[in-house]
């Protein structure tokens, strides 16, 4: 029986049937192909998150202005909108470039080149994670944003402050609709400032700064956190594969440095996701 089916199989192979196995219709190995499909599914996960962000943002009368929220820079520098995240973007782009170079060195079987460029990529990954840690630390510990509390509010009316305890805001300062503010925290208590409305139907009313849309904190921490976790696991895999390359494991393999290519695909994907996180959270 067995020998009969073997013969059949051989016949088919000779006829060149596509269904007998051993073919690569996509001219890519199983591993690389599956990496592509994993990345496709991961792209849908991130899209789901970012679309949820968009839907919730559209559902709010106001939304924190990114140039106001993300305007601090290490060294106690303030009011530099988007500067720090631009630096982060450049770090990730640079690490994507070094990854391309590592893959290219792998193609020509240059072990030393692969290891050096991968190490540079790992440095880039750690630098990005360090930046993100700094950004999170500023938002959590200095500005007191949490997944449930969003101290970044936006004025919807023109008015004048009647008490001024904010670091930048003095008594008598005026503001216009659309202007952002950050509610400060003193000791354990929130200290929203009081203001008087000067224009419109509510002119003369005394109000207190209200908190910004609650969803902002949760969306920011979950989405950038999920991306950061991808970077972190990417760095872990880069380290393992770099170590394998350094010990000469891939020299012996039939498919050479294909592992470097696969982790390269993943690493570029992380960069790709950042392009859209950058777009949704910081640019728009």
């Amino acid at each position: 029986m067995a020998s009969v089916s073997m013969e059949h199989a051989q016949e088919h192979t000779q006829q060149g049937s596509d269904w007998q196995g051993g073919n690569e219709p996509f001219k890519a190995s199983y591993g690389k192909l599956m990496m592509w499909y994993f990345l496709l599914s991961d792209a849908f996960t991130f899209s789901g998150f970012l679309i949820a962000y968009g839907a919730l943002r559209f559902s709010m009368p106001t939304w924190p202005v990114p140039d106001f929220v993300f305007s601090t820079f290490p060294g106690d520098i303030h009011h530099k909108p988007l500067l720090f995240v631009t630096v982060m973007t450049f770090i990730l782009l640079a690490s994507s470039f070094t990854m391309v170079r590592a893959v290219q060195e792998g193609h020509r079987e240059n072990k030393q080149g692969v290891v050096i460029w991968m190490l540079l990529t790992i440095v880039g990954g750690f630098a990005f994670l360090g930046c993100q840690a700094w950004e999170w630390n500023t938002l959590i510990n200095k500005e007191h944003m949490t997944v449930k509390v969003n101290p970044f509010g936006t004025h919807t009316e023109a008015g004048v402050y009647i008490d001024g305890d904010g670091h930048d805001i003095k008594e008598g300062d005026t503001f216009v609709p659309g202007q952002s503010y950050l509610i400060h925290k003193h000791e354990q208590d929130w200290a929203p400032l009081k203001y008087k409305v000067t224009e419109g139907a509510n002119a003369g009313m005394v109000k207190e700064q209200s908190f910004g849309p609650k969803a902002f904190g949760a969306l920011f921490f979950f989405i950038t956190g999920f991306h950061g976790f991808h970077v972190l696991s990417g760095v872990a895999f880069l380290l393992i594969i770099c170590l394998n390359a350094a010990t000469g494991l891939y020299v012996k393999r039939k498919n050479g440095y294909e592992m470097v290519e696969k982790i390269g695909l993943y690493w570029h994907f992380v960069d790709l996701v950042w392009v859209f996180v950058f777009l949704c959270f910081y640019l728009l």
Binding site: F26, R57, T89, L93, R101, T156, E157, S210, L265, V275
Partner: protein, 122 residues
Amino acid sequence: MSHLTYEQSKTIATKTILILAAITVFEVIFALLGKGYLVEGFHIAHWITGGVMIVLSVVKAYLIVYEFMHMKYEVPGLVKTVLLPTLLLVWAIIAFLAEGNYWNNSRVKVKNPVAVQVEASK
């Protein structure tokens, strides 16, 4: 697999990263310019800056996927199976943003007193 020589692919990678960096710098400057941070009193309508950002981000995504991830050098079947499913997202984006907008309108009508005041003062 690519048919390029080592030197050729090296040049392409350098060129691609420079274009990506240039686009990023342009995006940030354009965003700040549009919102009036760079030139006093100069603004660009939000839908224009937003539209430009989205188009440029798609260009960046194209460069990353096609050059860095070598999609340009894969066979058409692979390209289609990976890229075509993402077209489903087009409708997801339109539908969910429209839904979000609807929630916002309902909120004004139903229960957020702050929002009602905003509406009244317009």
